[in-house]
Amino acid sequence: MLTLLRNEKVRGILYQILVITGFLIVAYFIAINTAHNIEVRGIKSGFDFLHATAGFDITESPIPFSPQSTHWDVFKVGLLNTLIVSFAGIILSSILGLIIGVSRLSKNWIINRLAAGYIETFRNIPVLLQILFWYNVVLATLPATRKSLNFFDSIFINNRGIFIPNPIFEPGAWLIGVALVAALIGGWWIHRWAFKRHEETGENFPAIWAGLGLVIVLPLLAYLIMGGPVHFDYPALKGFNFQGGKVFTPEFLALLFALSIYTATFIAEAIRSGIEAVPKGQKEAATALGLTPIQSLRFVILPQAVRIAIPSIINQYLNLTKNSSLAAAIGYPELVTIFAGTSLNQTGQALEILGITMLTYLIISLVVSLILNWFNAKMKIKER
């Protein structure tokens, strides 16, 4: 018996049996307690509540929503708002992060220090504090609607948000969309063709400019052919508030700015460490080959730096998405605020609602990690 216990394999199995039994006992204990508590406290269970009327309104919703909508609609609106603010935040933080990251590597001492100062400041302050600061200090002190900051009578900034003209698409506008898609495909094709030709003959073709021209010219042509099927709905002051146009609410803006500024510090650091991780010899070799500084950056440094930096940048995008849940503190109607907040308070079905909420975030994370794995496999240096 004792010798059997000394056998590593037997012990391994024994350990696992112990762990799994412990796990099952705890799970069982939790399950019966929960079931009992739910019964005693008279909490409803099941997912019927999703079809019940929500009974509250949501301040901003990308899809039609009214107090008669169901909790399932609340979920959809919340998820969409989460995705909208995350997407906008990803774009903004990437731009900002790129600028700061490159500045951080600048040989110019002042620029370099400024970028370092930016990173050290905003990275070390809790993002929740930054959200509250934007919401309660910066955006709340903007002028009232009647004294809005006015840009060309089409953009207005006041303490109710930023109002911009909203494009209205008329029936013929589909052609513009088609033209844009065609231009994108054409641009991609030109790029491939130019790359191939470059590989074979060594001749260069300004593929970027050609692609850019295509993307601008084709939709413009479509616009002219269809006789200008787009016009703008301008915001205008009516009564106490602006009507028409598109409005970015202070909640949205506070969340967007705070998340972007916070995440940009991490993206900047990722970009910096990516570029710094490329061995010095690579740059020297590129220079020895006669490449100009821009060429060596474009063909030698960046392709290697990107491989190192992208995984952590994508992780930061994921963090940004998860941090968007802090909107609960200022009331931007995203998933946690309205579904795990208002809906939960109305129905009291915490278990189901938090389960759905967590599962949703989990799915987003899993999808992103799948993309990341695919990227890592694709970008892996193909060695012999």
Binding site: K107, L326, L344
Partner: protein, 362 residues
């Protein structure tokens, strides 16, 4: 034979040495660079003078009420008047010495960690610190009046949550990391599941879960205090991140180390404790400190489930009718406090990294 005495080397031209050369090379090397220098100066001029004007020259430092703030700048009187609330929350005035003693003990612990040699003393103090702190703060024995955790607040609460969170989540994280690297399939699966599950969701949902659902998990009558629930949530959340940091360290250890430990006849736990983990933790330190820093920043989220940490105290006092419109001063103060802590943590980590670097390259 002609003698050619060695000539004294000439100094480099004025433009190539000293401050002038530095300025020329770092600020004015090309038209582009000059442009960026000017841009940088412009940005600095936009940020620094107004901030200094607001925070120092135009600010009000003396007084006791809002009416004393007559200048255009910041009203630091607010921070000064409310400082006690920011630091101790609603902790009763008569018992404040306990909070102060706790902070003194915590600072003392840092010295113990710095100067004590045997490892068991260090580990012992780290484990004892949060327990002693909580017992002392809570009281309710030997004539010490009970102070409910709902009365704890401010920076004190922030520090309690982060220290307890760090100390408790670390061992759980280590176990999870070992579980994830384990060859036993069931243990590995459970660990992977747990880690990925937790890392996939935002902290706030975990905190909601801890505050709303956790009480349902236990038999009727067992009631946790709100703070304990938040602590459980934060600990289990951060453990998953710590596990990933440690795993990174474990993967960086050469296979030979494992094999050497096996060859020495060490058992699994001996091997991990004596050979693998000390090296793995060392490799993981930069990332671990990163996780601790984000844990420290994340403690501000407990505000959303109704605990009054430093940030929540500022939110609360800024809504005080006598002090309306003081958010800016409050937020800047909190930001400064958080910044000091996180910045010194990362500074400390860099020192530690250097100190532990046994890789004698140069």
């Amino acid at each position: 034979m002609a003698i050619y005495p060695l000539k004294e080397a000439k100094q480099p031209p004025l433009g190539e040495r000293g401050a002038i050369a530095w300025v020329r090379h770092n600020l004015l090397s090309s038209p582009f660079n000059i442009f960026f220098t000017l841009l940088g100066i412009a940005v600095l001029a936009m940020i620094i003078p107004p901030f200094v004007k607001w925070a120092i020259t135009d600010a009000n430092f003396v007084g006791h009420t809002k009416a004393d703030c007559t200048g255009d700048g910041a009203c630091w009187v607010f921070v000064h008047e409310k400082l006690k609330m920011f630091v101790y929350g609603f902790y009763p005035e008569a018992e404040l010495w306990r909070a102060k003693l706790t902070i003194a003990i915590a600072i003392g612990t840092l010295f113990v960690l710095k100067f004590a040699r045997p490892r068991w003393i260090k580990i012992g103090t780290i484990i004892l610190l949060p327990i002693a702190a909580i017992i002392l703060l809570r009281g309710g024995f030997m004539g010490l009046p009970l102070v409910e955790t709902s009365k704890w607040g401010g920076l004190l609460l922030t520090l309690v949550i982060s220290t307890v969170g760090i100390v408790l989540s670390f061992p759980i994280g280590v176990l999870l990391a070992l579980g994830r690297q384990s060859r036993l399939p069931i243990i590995k699966t459970l660990s992977v599941f747990y880690i990925e599950l937790v890392r996939g969701v935002p902290l706030i949902t975990v905190l909601f879960m801890a505050s709303v659902i956790l009480p349902l998990f236990f038999p009727e009558g067992i009631n946790f205090d709100k703070l304990i629930r938040a602590l459980i949530g934060i600990t289990f959340f951060e453990a998953a991140y710590i596990a990933e940091n440690i795993r990174g360290g474990l993967q960086a250890i050469p296979k030979g180390q494992y094999e050497a430990a096996d060859a020495l006849g060490l058992g699994y736990w001996q091997k991990m404790r004596l050979v693998i983990l000390p090296q793995a933790v060392k490799v993981a330190i930069p990332n671990l400190v990163g996780t601790f820093i984000s844990l420290f920043k994340d403690t501000s989220l407990v505000m959303i489930i109704g605990l009054f940490d430093l940030l929540a105290m500022v939110q609360l006092t800024a809504n005080d009718r006598d002090w309306l419109g003081m958010e800016t001063e409050g937020y800047v103060f909190v930001a400064f406090v958080f910044w000091i802590f996180t910045f010194s943590m990362s500074f400390f980590s860099k020192r530690l990294e250097k100190h532990l670097d046994t890789n004698n390259r140069d």
